[in-house]
């Protein structure tokens, strides 16, 4: 390690020397060498991505036009799976559920993340502990948070209903009522997601000059006015990034739903991901599952493309 450090120190000393201008064929040869070296460095990553993501993706696209049970060879049926999707009530239900879940988790966890970031940005006794507590759920797996969620929200043994009864309130039928089940899934997701949003907002707040707030305060702006007209607009880039990430995460939700509700009751909490999984490995309609997956992918790519365009437009005008 010491030898390495000495080497880089030497490099710093030599950094002032200017490189000679390369010319002619030697420059072309140098460029070819750099390209080869570039591919050598990216190679391992490319092989893994290509083999385990790109190739399966192409195969999935082909499979989505086939009937396949997982055994034997797939049978080509053209757009049959996609035509079936159009008249599949469960698929539409899963699409609506995924959208409702995404909008709800996005709104709640972004609002909470922003509120907590502002609350814990400036000096406050115990601030480090508070921050750690908000971050901590981030390290809990989806499976574990789903299982903890069962203990919180089970209508027979859950602590929330026991507390409601003890307070003289009616218990909530978390398992038998579809809406309540969805609320449980959303609450556990927000619990795990808020820390992430707070980290990004805290980083964004570091970039806002304190003088802006002082000037506004001298002008007589109230705390709410300062928040509305300084904090929120200047955190725009953070919000934009979080919007994209939260939609991506929410659209891909699987572990938590799989463990907490299994998609039920009925199909009240079935998501596109859990419906695809059930088709692939329970009913073994793997071509159909691939079609659901392709719809999911196209929706997410479409969303990403729209956001990309909007962001570019904003960069130009702003």
């Amino acid at each position: 390690m010491t030898g390495v450090t000495a080497g880089s120190a030497g490099a710093v000393a030599a950094a002032t020397r200017r490189p000679p201008a390369p010319r002619g064929s030697s420059r072309r040869r140098a460029r070819l060498r750099e390209t080869l070296t570039g591919y050598a460095f990216v190679g391992p990553n490319l092989v893994l991505l290509g083999l385990f993501l790109l190739y399966p993706l192409v195969l999935a696209a082909v499979l989505s036009f086939s009937r396949y049970t997982g055994f034997g060879s797939p049978e080509w049926i053209g757009i049959g799976n996609y035509a079936d999707l159009l008249s599949d009530a469960v698929f539409w239900r899963a699409l609506i559920n995924t959208t409702v879940f995404t909008v709800a988790t996005l709104t709640l966890s972004l609002g909470l993340g922003l509120g907590l970031a502002v609350l814990l940005n400036k000096a406050l006794p115990g601030r480090a502990v508070f921050r750690t507590i908000v971050y901590a759920p981030m390290v809990v797996s989806g499976v574990a948070s789903g299982l903890i969620g069962v203990l919180m929200f089970d209508e027979n043994t859950g602590v929330v209903d026991k507390a409601l009864i003890a307070a003289g309130l009616p218990p909530i039928p978390w398992q038998s009522n579809g809406g309540a089940a969805m609320v449980a899934v959303i609450l556990m997701t927000v619990w795990g997601r808020t820390g992430f949003n707070m980290v990004i907002y805290l980083a964004g707040l570091q970039g806002i000059s304190e003088e802006l707030y002082e000037a506004a305060e001298l002008e007589g702006a109230s705390a709410w006015q300062r928040f509305r007209s300084i904090t929120v607009p200047l955190l725009g880039p953070s919000t934009f990034f979080l919007l994209i990430m939260n939609v991506i995460y929410s659209f891909q939700v699987f572990d938590l739903v799989f463990v907490l509700t299994g998609g039920g009751p009925g199909n009240a909490t079935t998501m596109l991901t859990t419906y695809a999984y059930a088709n692939a490995f329970t009913t073994r309609a793997q071509g159909y599952a691939a079609a659901i997956g392709m719809v999911l992918l196209v929706l997410m790519l479409g969303f990403a493309a729209v956001q990309w365009r909007l962001n570019r437009g904003r960069d130009v005008t702003g």
Partner: protein, 300 residues
Amino acid sequence: MTATAGTRTRTPSAGVATTRSGHLRSRRRRNRVTTIVRFVIALVVCVVMAFPFYWMVVVSLSPKDDLFSTVFKLWPSRLTFDNFTALFATYDISTWFGNSLVITAFVTVLGVVVNLLAGYAFAKLRFLGRGAIFFAALATLVLPVQVTMVAQFRLVSDLGFYGTYWAVILPSAATATGVFLARQFILGIPDELLEAAKLDGAGSFRLFRSIVLPLCRPLIAVLVVLIAMATWNDFAWPLIALKQDFLFTLPIGLLFLQGQTTPDFTQIMALSLIAILPMIALFLATQRYFVQGIARSGIR
């Protein structure tokens, strides 16, 4: 990042301060009230956020009857380690723990190496198709495993990895976030440093090893923490790829316990605790890197 926020002080000009000293005093009192209000809100929110953790610990240390009693009680009627003893007596927990450990270790090492190499190339080497390849690598972020799972399962079986750790290790090693973070960090290393060493006759590999790598220690710490956590907690793909119980990782073991005909939630919480504790410890030990890593992924 954490330190700067707290130490920032107000510096109003002296003239303003003297003419408005009465004003300032009332403002100071108002500030104290605001601080108390902020503290109380933070306390309430954090009690709610910490409660699921607390409840997991309580249930894992409670006798089974507590769960089925209708009485609302926030602590165990009697502290007991029976759930842990029964858990270890019934299931091969140490094997599951070991599997999680081995898979996490392999994915982390492989992931750091692969993403670091790629990050260096994307940041510092010019080659044909660099932009397109980087964009494609990033785009995998929006690719849920449910899209590729069927095909990936076939592939893994065809390659002969099914029934081994490799079925999970290899598909998990290259990640969009990892490449992005590595490129972002290495972009910040000044080009002059590399140019100078190039003049001394160093090739790209020596540049990487002797200049880039030693400067990448904070990046490596961030990658290790983020990759290790993601792998330890991974569920969807291991659920498909690890069917034999001697290969189960802890999340799959948890699902296995939940799938029993009469799932015992005191034992499930005991195992949840066992699965979560190492990550909490890693998080508390490396909170700075963890938070940095996440914050940096947000700076575009």
